[in-house]
C-alpha cells in the first residue's frame, strides 16, 4: 500500500519517540516500504552536533541503527534551517515531496491549550500534505 515512509525525528528527544519509531518499523515491514528518517536542525552548534556535517552524520548513524534493529531499508535526510523553531513545519512539508513519501509517521503530544496558539507539527503536516499521516501519541 505504501512505498516510502517519511519519519520525522527529533534526535534530542528520542525518549519521546519510542512508540512512533516502533510504528514506523512495523509499517515499513508490513508494506515492504523504505523509510527516510528526517530531522531539522540549525547550522549553529547544538547539543547534538557542532556542525551541519556532524548533524548529518549523526542522523545517518541513527537511520543505520534503525535499519539494523528492525531489519528495514532506511535512509536519512537532514535539513539545515535558519530558524528551526518556526521553519520545521514547512521544511517537513517540502521534504514530503522531495522524498516522494506516501506515508508520514510521526510522534505528537496530546493536544492541549497551547495547541490553540501553536498547532502541533503533526497537525500542521496532516493538514497540508497529500501523503497519508499517522500521528502516534503517547501511551
Amino acid at each position: 500500500m505504501f512505498k516510502r515512509i517519511m519519519a520525522p525525528v527529533d534526535l534530542a528527544h528520542l525518549d519521546k519517540l519510542e512508540r512512533a519509531l516502533q510504528v514506523t518499523a512495523e509499517e515499513a515491514k508490513l508494506h515492504n516500504a523504505a523509510v527516510t528518517y528526517v530531522s531539522v536542525s540549525a547550522a549553529a552548534p547544538s547539543a547534538l552536533a557542532h556542525t551541519p556535517d556532524e548533524f548529518k552524520a549523526r542522523l545517518k548513524d541513527f537511520a543505520s541503527q534503525q535499519a539494523l534493529a528492525h531489519g528495514i531499508n532506511a535512509t536519512s535526510h537532514a535539513i539545515i534551517s535558519h530558524d528551526p523553531t518556526t521553519d520545521v513545519d514547512n521544511a517537513l512539508l517540502k521534504c514530503v515531496s522531495d522524498t516522494g513519501a506516501d506515508l508520514v509517521v510521526m510522534a505528537s503530544h496530546r493536544p492541549g491549550l497551547a495547541d490553540y496558539f501553536w498547532p502541533s507539527n503533526g497537525g500542521k503536516i496532516a493538514a497540508h500534505t497529500n501523503a497519508s499521516v499517522f500521528i502516534v501519541r503517547d501511551a
Partner: protein
C-alpha cells in the same frame, strides 16, 4: 576534536573544522519543562537572573525616580567626559583592527569552515544588517546631525556659518558645511560598524568554526577556558541581556514619543501617553507576528521591505533636492571625512568638548552598549562568508550607505537652511529650537509631496523599531536559552512582550531617561570586553585553515 564521551557519541566532524575541545555540552545547564500549557527550555541561571534584575531595576526607577534619575543622570556624562579618551582610542583600535584583518592572510578564513556556503544572499543579508541596529538612527539623525554640527557644535573649532541674528556668514559656509557632514559621517561610518563587526566576527568564529554555543560568553573561551561556562560566563551573558533589553525598551519608549511628535506635526494627532502606549503596543504586536513567523518569514522579510521603502525615500529626496547638488555634497563629504577622520578621532588637545564628549564619546558608548545585540544578530546570519568578505560587507559597504544617506538627507537639509534661513523649517526645528524628532519632517515639508513622504517616513520609523525589536527578542531568547536557537516559541514571545511591557511601564511611570543613561553606561565595561574580543579573534583565527578566495 570533540570529546566523544561527553558529547554522547557525536561522530568526528567531516571537513576541516577546528572545533574547540571542551567538555561542555550545549544546553547542559538548561532547565526544560512546561509552565501551564507552554513548554520552556532556559539556561539556569542566566534566564532567571536577567529577568529578575530587569524587573528590579524597573522597580528602582519607579520607586525612587529622583534618586535613579540623579544617579544615572550623573553617571552617563561622568563616563563620557572622563573616559572620552578611552572610548575614542578603543573605537580607533577597532577600525584599524578590522581594516588590518581585511588585508591580512586571515581574511581568507571562512566562517563555518572552508566548505560552508553563505546562509543568505547579499540583499537579505544587508537588509538585516541595517534593520537590526542602525535604521532607526538614520531616520532620526540624518537631518539633525549635519545641520547641528555645521551650525552649533563646531567640531574641531570650525566656526558656524550662522550669525547670532540668524543671517549667513558667507566666509564660513563652505568649511562648516563640509565639517557638518564629515563630523556626522564620522559617527555613522567606519567606527560604529567596526564596533558591531568585532562582536559579530568573534561570535561567528567561535560558534560556526569552533563549535561553541551562540552566546556572548563563547568569545571568551580563549581567555577564560572552561571557567567561561561558570559564573564568569553567566555575568557576561546576563550583562548582555540586560543591556539589550533595556536598550530596546528605552529606545522603544523614546521612539514612541518621537513617532508621536512626528504624527502630531504631520497629522495633528494629539501628543500624549495614551497614543504612545498604542504605538508601543502596535510595534510590539508587529514584532510578535514577526518572531512567530521566524527569521526568514518575519525578520528578514520585514527588513527587506523596509530597505526598499527607505531606498525609495532616499532616491526621492535625492531627486527632489537636486541630484547634482546632493551628489556634490556626497563627494565633498567623503573627501572631508577622509581629511578630518584622524583629527576627529584624536581625543587629545581638543577644545571642542561639546562635540567630542557630548556627541562622539556618547555615540561610541551607545554603539558599544548595543553591540552584543547587533553583533550577535549579525553573527547568526553571516555563516558562509570569508573574514575578508564579512568585514568588507559589515564595515565598508554599510559605511558607504550611511555616508550616502547622511549626504542626501543632511545635504538637502543644510541647503535648505543656507538658501533661505529666514523661513527654513529645518533651521527652526534644529538650530532655533532643538526638536530632533521633527527635524526629518521639517526637511521633507520643504520638498514636494510632503504629506506622502512624511507618512512614508513615519511608517519607516515604526517598522525600523519593529525590526530592532524582533531581532533583539531572538538574540535575548538565544542567550537566555544557553545558545540554543531552537528553544520553544513561547520564550521568544515572552521576551518580545516583556520588552514592550517594560517600555510602557517606564513611559507611564517615568524612568526612561534614567535607564537609558544606565544602558549607555554599560558601554564602558563592554568596551573592555570588545578589546578582549579582538585578542580572542586573533587567537581563534590562528587555529583556522585559510582558504583561497
Amino acid at each position: 576534536m570533540a570529546d566523544q564521551t561527553a558529547n554522547q557519541g557525536i561522530p568526528e566532524p567531516e571537513g576541516t573544522a577546528e572545533l574547540i575541545n571542551t567538555e561542555y555540552e550545549i544546553g547542559q545547564d538548561n532547565v526544560e519543562g512546561t509552565l501551564g500549557p507552554f513548554g520552556f527550555d532556559v539556561h539556569n541561571p542566566v534566564f532567571l537572573i536577567s529577568g529578575l534584575s530587569i524587573v528590579a531595576f524597573v522597580f528602582y526607577a519607579l520607586a525612587l525616580p529622583e534618586q535613579a534619575s540623579s544617579f544615572f543622570g550623573w553617571l552617563r556624562p561622568a563616563l563620557t567626559s572622563n573616559f572620552d579618551w578611552f572610548f575614542l582610542w578603543s573605537a580607533n583600535i577597532f577600525v584599524v583592527f578590522c581594516l588590518a584583518l581585511i588585508v591580512s592572510p586571515w581574511g581568507s578564513v571562512r566562517i563555518g569552515g572552508p566548505d560552508a556556503q553563505p546562509d543568505y544572499g547579499y540583499p537579505g543579508w544587508f537588509a538585516m544588517l541595517f534593520a537590526a541596529g542602525m535604521g532607526i538612527g538614520l531616520m532620526f539623525f540624518g537631518v539633525l546631525e549635519p545641520v547641528y554640527h555645521m551650525a552649533i557644535s563646531q567640531p574641531l573649532g570650525v566656526p558656524s556659518p550662522i550669525a547670532e541674528d540668524g543671517t549667513i556668514i558667507p566666509g564660513n559656509v563652505e568649511a562648516a558645511k563640509q565639517m557638518g557632514l564629515a563630523a556626522t559621517i564620522y559617527h555613522w561610518g567606519l567606527h560604529p560598524w567596526a564596533i558591531y563587526a568585532i562582536v559579530a566576527l568573534a561570535l561567528a568564529l567561535f560558534t560556526y568554526n569552533k563549535g561553541l554555543p551562540l552566546t556572548i560568553r563563547s568569545a571568551f573561551y580563549p581567555l577564560l577556558g572552561e571557567r567561561v561556562w561558570g559564573w564568569w560566563g553567566h555575568i557576561i551573558d546576563t550583562l548582555a541581556v540586560f543591556a539589550t533589553l533595556f536598550g530596546l525598551a528605552t529606545s522603544l519608549g523614546f521612539g514612541a514619543q518621537q513617532a508621536n511628535a512626528g504624527l502630531e506635526h504631520v497629522f495633528g494627532i494629539p501628543n500624549n501617553t495614551g497614543v504612545q502606549i498604542v504605538l508601543i503596543t502596535l510595534i510590539t504586536g508587529i514584532a510578535l507576528f514577526s518572531v512567530l513567523r521566524g527569521l526568514d518569514g518575519g525578520v528578514k522579510l520585514l527588513s527587506e521591505i523596509n530597505m526598499i521603502v527607505a531606498a525609495l525615500l532616499l532616491v526621492f529626496v535625492l531627486v527632489a533636492a537636486g541630484p547634482v547638488l546632493i551628489l556634490t555634497d556626497f563627494f565633498e563629504g567623503l573627501v572631508a571625512y577622509a581629511k578630518d577622520v584622524i583629527p576627529l578621532s584624536n581625543p587629545h588637545g581638543r577644545q571642542d568638548t561639546d562635540y567630542m564628549q557630548g556627541w562622539t564619546a556618547f555615540y561610541w558608548a551607545w554603539w558599544i552598549s548595543w553591540s552584543p545585540f547587533v553583533g550577535m544578530f549579525i553573527a547568526r546570519v553571516s555563516r558562509g562568508r570569508t573574514v575578508r568578505e564579512f568585514l568588507t560587507c559589515v564595515l565598508i559597504i554599510p559605511s558607504l550607505v550611511c555616508i550616502l544617506w547622511m549626504a542626501v538627507f543632511g545635504g538637502a537639509a543644510v541647503d535648505q537652511v543656507l538658501s533661505d534661513p529666514a523661513t527654513s523649517a529645518v533651521k527652526a526645528q534644529v538650530i532655533d529650537s532643538y526638536n530632533p524628532p521633527i527635524s526629518l519632517f521639517a526637511m521633507l515639508e520643504s520638498l514636494p509631496m510632503a504629506a506622502i513622504t512624511s507618512t512614508i517616513a513615519i511608517v519607516l520609523v515604526i517598522v525600523f523599531f519593529v525590526t530592532s525589536s524582533d531581532s533583539g527578542s531572538l538574540v535575548i531568547d538565544t542567550i537566555t536559552a544557553g545558545g540554543k536557537i531552537d528553544a520553544p516559541v513561547p520564550q521568544r514571545v515572552f521576551w518580545c512582550t516583556f520588552e514592550g511591557a517594560v517600555a510602557i511601564v517606564l513611559l507611564v511611570g517615568g524612568g526612561l531617561t534614567a535607564l537609558q543613561a544606565m544602558v549607555i553606561s554599560t558601554g564602558l565595561p563592554f568596551t573592555v570586553i570588545l578589546l578582549l574580543m579582538c585578542w580572542a579573534i586573533v587567537k581563534g583565527l590562528m587555529a583556522e585553515k585559510r582558504v583561497s578566495g
